[in-house]
């Protein structure tokens, strides 16, 4: 399940949809909106995507994770639009028989997503807004 959503992310539902009877471990990563960035107070964020390509690349992240690690299920939800402090911007859920591959695939997925999935974050401050560039 690789989805872009505009509503709050329900991680528990994603997990339930992925956990199979052979799974013993679930590793989850959640990104949440911080109240500060590079020393500036952040009022809120917006996430924008090149949606057709982002969906394709999310699936690709999932496929790569499955090829590299001994896992069963992987799902990624990324939220778009305006997000407030402490809201969840992304959830990655990985299920596996054992915890090692689950952790490693989850870490791989978020690291890879941050390189190849065309989504951008815009931070809004009291005195303006800035598009955040990856690789900074």
């Amino acid at each position: 399940m690789f989805v872009l959503v505009r509503e709050p992310i329900d991680i528990q539902a994603l997990t339930r949809s992925l956990v199979g009877s052979e799974d013993g471990a679930v590793a989850v990563f959640e990104g949440v909106v911080r109240n500060n960035s590079r020393g500036k107070r952040v009022l809120y964020l917006e996430y924008h995507a090149y949606e057709t390509m982002a969906l394709k690349k999310l699936e690709e992240v999932g496929t790569m994770a499955r090829e590299r690690f001994d896992i069963h299920g992987i799902g990624i939800l990324h939220r778009l639009g305006r997000l407030e402090h402490s809201e969840c911007s992304i959830a990655i859920v990985v299920t596996a028989a054992h915890r090692g591959p689950a952790f490693e695939a989850c870490r791989f997925a978020i690291d890879t997503l941050k390189k190849i999935v065309p989504i951008w974050k815009k931070e809004f401050y009291e005195d303006g807004a800035v598009w955040i560039q990856g690789g900074n």
Binding site: M53, I90, I110, P118, W120, K121, Q133, G134
Partner: protein
């Protein structure tokens, strides 16, 4: 004989365009399309060093060819997650 051109994030702000079209007969590579827009919006040059290019939702090199009906996208390094 047209190519759809997409700009994202800071490039969309800079050009004031998210989506436009160019004549496919006037361009042999994605970089040549970018150069065309950089003539109208010189600040696009500041982005060229870190620019990412996609054709039909796949990353490509700047010198990749373009064809009629392609969807070409220009964007800065991604910052999702």
């Amino acid at each position: 004989m047209s190519i759809k051109v997409l700009f994202f994030a800071s490039l969309a702000d800079l050009t004031g365009m998210r989506e436009t079209e160019v004549d496919s007969r006037a361009h042999t590579s994605v970089a040549s399309i970018y150069t065309k827009f950089a003539r109208d919006f010189p600040r696009l040059e500041e982005h060229r060093a870190s620019l990412l290019y996609a054709v039909n939702s796949e990353f490509v090199q700047p010198d990749s060819p373009v064809h009629d009906g392609d969807e070409v996208a220009f964007f800065p390094p991604v910052s999702g997650g």
